[in-house]
């Protein structure tokens, strides 16, 4: 947190994204990351046989048409999906960009785009908004989960600056630091997909602000290989999710019902 003197200084340098502050910071990029810190969290975990993505939904209402709209998870291509944290409208633009980039690659090479190349390409787009054009950065962080024949299952995290890196387990959005340290403690290299789901739900239940955890407040998706060797992206239905929450003992019952 800046001291008051620094805050005064920063006001001069934060109106435009394209200039550095005297301390060598890009304030607009940092403010974008602040915005994401207030958004619903998302956790991704890489396992031997798949990648698990879990997201906390901030918009909950019985009136939401849940079968057709998702808030946190999106499919980019048959072999890549992402979880978002931040400003939804910004995320939609970037998700569309990622989808176009993936198809453009397949159009040229008749092969699925390697996951890291897709992430890198999207991050190059994000970086552009931190250097030229006078436009603000995107207020979105992503967790990309995918599979390709070069490196198998992969998990990447990217932020508004356009930086990205590969992770075994990562968290974005609200309380991501707490979630990250919990993941660091409990993650094991040889974790299976089922154990990863359990770990993700456990960590999310501990870091979420809400008092009770129900399947309405969460989204769970997995990227794995079917027995025939094809990549599958599957979003958990709300019934299965409720069952899982019960099974792993992370539901906190709101009130006693007999």
């Amino acid at each position: 947190n800046c001291g008051s003197a620094l805050t005064k200084m920063s006001r001069r340098y934060d109106s435009r994204t394209t200039i550095f502050s005297p301390e060598g910071r890009l304030y607009q990029v940092e403010y974008a990351m602040e915005a994401i810190g207030n958004a619903g969290s998302a956790i991704g975990i890489l396992s031997k046989d798949g990648v698990v993505l879990v997201g906390e939904k901030k918009v909950t209402s019985k009136l939401l048409q849940t079968s057709t709209s998702t808030e946190k998870m999106y499919k980019i291509d048959d072999h890549v999906a992402c979880a978002v944290a931040g400003i939804m409208s910004d995320a939609n633009i970037l998700i569309n960009t990622a989808r176009v980039q993936a198809q453009r690659y397949t159009y040229a090479y008749q092969e699925p785009m390697p996951v890291e190349q897709l992430v890198q390409s999207l991050c190059d787009t994000k970086q552009g908004y931190t250097q030229f054009g006078g436009l603000r950065p995107f207020g979105v962080s992503f967790l990309f989960a995918g599979w390709d024949k070069n490196y198998g299952f992969q998990l990447y995290m990217s932020d508004p600056s356009g930086n990205y890196s590969g992770w075994k387990a990562a968290a974005i959005g609200a309380n991501n630091q707490a979630a990250q340290s919990m993941l660091k403690q409990d993650y094991k290299d040889e974790i299976t997909r089922e154990e990863a789901v359990q770990l993700a739900l456990k960590v999310l239940s501990k870091t979420m602000d809400s008092t009770s955890l129900t399947s309405e407040k969460l989204e769970l998706a997995e990227v794995f290989l079917t027995p025939s060797g094809n990549v599958k992206y599957q979003v958990c239905s709300s019934d299965s999710l409720s069952k899982l929450l019960l099974k792993f003992g992370v539901t906190q019952p709101a009130a006693e019902t007999s």
Binding site: Y107, A108, Y109, Q110, E111, P114, E116, Q117, K149, N150
Partner: protein, 247 residues
């Protein structure tokens, strides 16, 4: 269930034999001897065998011609695209060099950017895409045979013509000589040829071109690509540059 006494030892890859256990004895007529050969194992994990031998070979003539003048007779028209890919090109000389170098540099750029090489199929599709994009504005008059070897899938050959047709083929040819080469290959090609047999077939095609094409190119270059990489195999020269006489 009673087990029979049929001997069924495990057969290692690249082995050959006669008769049992892979072929019958004295069938269909008495005294018939059948020989067999096992291909190489392409994918160690999945046990997928290829009964083709694992290489691809391309040959091209080496004359650079302008109207009635032969500029040079040792022009190498088979470019090494990367460690395990060859691109044999024929057509308008300027376009040929310009286009193949463009493809070669883009293939290299991909590898620098992404740390992994393009597969032969991806490179072939990329090449076709570039020809297709230029076709209705500024076409390249270049015909290409792209040969490559991938660790996962073995050798492959792609036929790409100047109007951006792409076919994955076992054998292909371009030019007036193709009328003779294709006929020769139809007659003699079979899957599982050894390198020696394949080179022999290439030589048969060259002999046919030399004897039957009215303005036949005298010299050819042959290149091969297999698991050890892409390299020059041989030249076939019937006209060598004469040594300069000393003063």
């Amino acid at each position: 269930m009673k087990e029979n006494d049929f001997p069924a030892p495990p057969i290692p890859p690249c082995s050959t034999g006669e008769g049992l256990p892979c072929a019958p004895i004295s069938w269909a007529n008495s005294g018939d001897a059948w020989s067999w050969r096992v291909g190489t194992r392409i994918n160690n994990a999945a046990g997928f065998y290829s009964d083709g031998n694992d290489f691809a070979v391309v040959a091209a003539d080496t004359s650079a011609v302008h109207s009635i003048l032969v500029h040079k007779s040792n022009e190498d028209k088979i470019m090494i695209l990367d460690s395990h890919k060859l691109i044999a090109a024929s057509g308008e000389s300027g376009d040929r060099v310009q286009f193949t170098e463009y493809i070669q540099k883009n293939v290299a750029l991909y590898q620098f950017r992404n740390g992994i090489p393009l597969t032969t199929a991806a490179a072939a599709n990329f090449t076709r895409g570039e020809l297709a994009t230029a076709l209705r504005k500024n076409p390249y008059f270049v015909n290409i045979l792209l040969a490559g070897y991938d660790k996962e899938t073995g050798p492959s050959l792609y036929y790409i013509d100047y109007i951006a047709t792409l076919h994955k083929v076992d054998k292909g040819a371009f030019g007036y000589g193709s009328y003779f080469s294709l006929a020769m290959m139809d007659r003699h090609y079979h899957s599982g040829m050894t390198v020696e047999e394949a080179i022999d077939l290439v030589d048969k095609c060259i002999m046919e071109i030399r004897s039957r094409l009215v303005v036949a190119p005298p010299n050819f270059v042959i290149k091969i690509v297999d698991k050890d990489g892409a390299r020059e195999y041989a030249w076939r020269e019937s006209v060598k540059d004469a040594a300069v006489a000393s003063a």
